[in-house]
Amino acid sequence: MTSEAVTITDVDKTFETRSGQVSALQGINLTVAAGEFVSLIGPSGCGKSTLMRLIADLDTPTSGTVQVFGKSASHARRDQDYGIAFQQAGLLPWRTVAGNIELPLALHGIGSRQRKERVAELIDLVGLSEFADRFPDQLSGGMQQRVAIARALAEKPALLLMDEPFGALDEMTRERMQTELVRICAETKAAVVFVTHSIPEAAFLSDRVVVMSPRPGRVQEIIPMRLGAARTEGLREEHAFFDMVTAVREALHQGSPVPTGPRGMETR
């Protein structure tokens, strides 16, 4: 295994639409180291979700290559090298919480006793032990999202892909989920590619923030977050954190600092 979790080289992605070709991504180069937390941020239409889908091999690039742990993206997908979570929790409503978490394990032929043990661990990890036998529609949005994260972690992936997983949650839940994600990442030591359009969220969670520009989607700037390893609630009120938030915001404005948040962006 190489020390790089994701290597993206000269990737272009063009979609065919009725009104002609639309360039979603152009000339993307990016590497994510093993165990590193990288956020993709940018306004709507900058192709950040598309980029994540290319890494997941849910779409294929028009040109260029995407490698995951030194393998092609499709090979890595077939090897189950990554876990994935979307903005919608995407739970199967006819399965219980435990049934949803064990889904990938069941599909890949893991024995029922091992499955049960792993599911118990995961439910504990996301703090839903009392809800194992509930159905998704009996849970709040935040709890559903935690189930989805547990499901993404089921096979102990070394890479976690997350597409705005907290996008639909309220502010309080969102901050709690972020703190939990930091803890989970510290425990699992997985690399994370995290798509978001919240500046503080990106700053709080990431080792590096990739700022993207729209139409066509390009990498505008990659900003390392110099915030140290301790990402605790206290960090949200420190000067260093505000400095990083400002750095990301200014990068989004391409060097023309504006006192208010950029249009189309969430500043929470």
Binding site: F86, Q88, L92
Partner: protein, 257 residues
């Protein structure tokens, strides 16, 4: 409207329609006995009940005959409907081929087909009627199942792709469970159609002894109360089919959640 306690509401839910039914029957009875409407034109509820009691064994056997035709048609039609919907959802060509055929099947009037099929299968065969009930059941089951098979959420599809799941696994874990409620909607609609079709098909020849046949002979011999009695039996049969499929649906859905 005043809010009712849950218990009172449940009681009201049962009592209200029963009361409405009793009121209508009472008014009907009054209309005939006091109002002077000719019993020959509109038999009174009492005379219909009289006939139900008198012809009870014949009613039961007629309902069994018609019910069996409807049941066989419903089962075979539903199975074919589900099967073809699966094929159409898997193969585009079959989908394109089936669309106009099903549209044509949906508009075939039973009255038009019944005499033809009765002649085709012979005067002493029930197969024609079963075929008509099957045909009537096929259409709603096919249409609803096919629609259900296309309701799979994009996020579920992405998820299954990320798991590198096989086509069979996707079918079993996501596609079929998503479609199940739609299949049952189709069967529920089909259950009433199957009874109606099996009954109406009996008006156009073939062996006697079913509800439809007896309604038409009773009416032809001016035994109107008896004809009405058989109509009541037809309503009961249709309701029984509807409730049975509803119970089946509840049973399957409860096992899931």
């Amino acid at each position: 409207m005043r809010a009712l306690s849950p218990r009172a509401e449940n009681t009201t839910r049962i009592i209200a329609p029963v009361a409405a039914g009793a009121l209508v029957l009472g008014a009907w009875q009054l209309l005939v006995t006091v109002g002077g409407v000719d019993d020959y034109l509109l038999p009174s509820p009492a005379s219909i009940i009289d006939q139900i009691v008198e012809f009870w064994p014949s009613m039961v056997s007629a309902a069994v005959t018609t019910g069996l035709n409807a049941l066989l048609g419903l089962i075979i039609g539903s199975m074919l409907g589900i099967l073809f919907a699966l094929l159409a959802s898997l193969t585009r060509v079959i989908d394109f081929m089936s669309a106009p055929v099903v549209a044509a099947l949906a508009v075939i009037p039973i009255v038009a087909l019944a005499p033809v099929l009765n002649t085709m299968f012979g005067a002493d065969s029930q197969i024609g009627r079963q075929a008509i009930a099957g045909l009537a059941s096929f259409v709603p089951v096919f249409i609803n199942t096919l629609r259900g098979l296309r309701q799979t959420l994009p996020v579920h599809r992405d998820l299954m792709r990320s798991y590198a799941a096989s086509q069979t696994q996707v079918m079993r874990t996501v596609t079929l469970p998503t479609a199940t409620p739609f299949v049952f909607t189709g069967i529920r609609i089909a259950s009433s159609l199957a009874v109606i079709s099996a009954l109406v098909a009996e008006y156009f020849g073939g062996p006697r002894g079913g509800l439809g046949g007896l309604i038409s002979t009773s009416a032809a011999s001016s035994a109107y109360p008896r004809a009405w009695a058989y109509v009541v039996a037809g309503i009961v049969l249709g309701l029984a089919f509807y409730l049975a499929t509803l119970a089946l649906e509840r049973l399957v859905m409860r096992r899931r959640s």
